[in-house]
Amino acid sequence: MKPLIAFEFKKFFKNKKNLIAIFVFILLILVEIALCISMEKRKTGIEIELCNGTVEQCKQQIDKLKSDYEKTDASDSQGRNFLKEGIDNLSLQKRLNEEKRNAIVSNDWRKMLDLDIQLDEWSLKGMQKSNATSAQNPEALIMEIKKDKFLLKNDIKPIYESCSMTSYNFIRLTSIDILPLFLLIIISLFSSDIMSNENDAGTFKVLLIQPISRTKVLFSKIIASTLINISIILLTLFGFFIGLGITKGFGSPKYPVNYYLGSLSFGYKGTNMDSIRLIGIGKFILYMLPLLILMIIALTAICILISTIMNNSTTAICTSILIYITIYIFNNQINAFKKIAHCIPLTYLDVPDVLNGNMIYKFGNTHITLLFGLIILIVSTMICYFISAAIFKKKDIIC
């Protein structure tokens, strides 16, 4: 089988279509990086503007409250106390925001963190006191405070999680933003024609006339294609990880991110944010790897099955992409699918969202866990390989 696998590698890297797909993959990541870097630069300005805006708003409200206070009759002590408390609160908010703005300008992130904690605690206190419904979830606020305290305690510089291009955050962001769709397209391009291409070119006649069992031919292709897909995707990500580490910094592997405690169970363990705990981003990426690798293996297996059934490589590639995108859209948009989403391999494409429990909220399906994902991907891979082998062993090569 070794010469067959080696030959598959050779064919892959001599095929222009594959080289172009790799180039486009790298290019898209570069575009994402450029967009994130420009967003990160703008973020500081936006935050300063936000602080200024809040300060200005506070000033106006303080002035208004002060004038109301002066107009209020001295005998209305309750009303005057209420207004005074409001003025004090707004003054505190104004002061904190002014200090935060100065901390951002002077790049003093420790001070900024401290102020963020104070502001969040102040907001939380307000929420608890007024008992009013707010746009911000108090549980999320508690988690935010926890995270900021952790950063401060461990002397970790905070990052803009939605756009920071430190190495660790890049891996997390890419896995959410471009990897799911790109995995579908790139694996379809790489693997959907691995069998049908031989049919198109008439080379099956050379390959299958050799004294090697058809099962061996199929499994050589499966092994080669899987190894190629895993190595290209992981090596590209690793290359960018190192590159960004050198240019933008690696970031701390201890940087806290949300992790769903029920990941290693078959169902939902908690009822609220209690089921989420903070773990280091390095550890989080390590947890992501098995699911990501298994996802690549499963997608490759599905593509090879399609390639075994189809006789024409263009049809096979188009069919794979079409099937994947249709299932992906159906899965995300149609409620009936959401109930069985945990049994559909493509549900687990957004690997970080599976690990942090977001998928459970998104689909309203409590079975979407890391453990269930691993099992579904392994089972679907086995089924695809079994069907591919059964078809290929008895397939007439008509071309």
């Binding site: 010469p3 067959l4 080696a6 030959f7 050779k10 064919k11 001599k14 095929n15 222009k16 070119a201 008439g202 080379t203 099956f204 006649k205 050379v206 390959l207 299958l208 006339i209 050799q210 004294p211 090697i212 069992s213 008895k394 007439d396 090569i397 008509i398 071309c399």
Partner: protein, 301 residues
Amino acid sequence: MSILEMKNISKKFGNRQVLKNISFSIEEGEVVGFVGSNGAGKTTTLKVLANLIFPDEGTVVINGHNLFSEREEALSCIGGIIENPGLYSFLSGRDNLNFIKNLRNVSDEKMDSIIEYIGLSSRINDTVKNYSLGMKQRLALGMSLLTDPKLLILDEPTNGLDPTGTIELRNLLKKLSKENKISVLISSHILSEIDKISDKVVFIKEGEIISIKDNKRVTNGQPYKMNVNEAEKVKELLKNCENVYEFYFDNENVLYVNIANDSLNSLLKSFVLNNIDFSNIEVVSGVEEEYDKIYSKGALK
């Protein structure tokens, strides 16, 4: 010793019966021509032999190994080009040969000798897509010969070859069969080529083997076509002639006759003596004659 024994092979594609009870054998060192019109089932038969198509019924034994139960052993004895040279066009000629070499543990020396043998030494590192059809045919033949097959299956191997290439291929196949004892099953539309090269010719029509002709005898004799009157009288006369190998009538008065070399004069003399009129005497190729017989009216022997 039989290198190939094909027994009662039948195959249906949907409702269409493409092969019906195909049976024939090939001996060691024998060159067998496989002749039939387009769609007769030639390529399907060859694909069954190469295990590319699975028959519904029948057995194929190659060098003593059943193709369906001992696939690897059986396929290790064959090489071939089916339909067109199946080559990886984006790789070089050497890469294509290297693939078979690595797969079948062939030595470097053997590969170099094959490259020289097929006359591609100067272009072997070029990408195959830049090759002419003739060069592709030669490369595919080289890939087939790399593993010293006992049976070579060639489907239309002269396609794309110039006259020199065709003559070279003919001589090569003769050499392989006589010197290396390689059996060859060759299908072609060029009947004269089949006639020149084959020891035996298998004729297929609508998925059925219509005739298997021993071409050694045909090549020893000389077939003629002529117009005669009194067919019954001619039949009686020819039955008793020593030098007549076989004969049949296409029309009532069109006679095909295969006679020993240099015996045309004595045959014509006997016609004159028996008051049989004859005209339009033509020399006919043996295979062509049989082909004409099968695809026009059918045998009347």
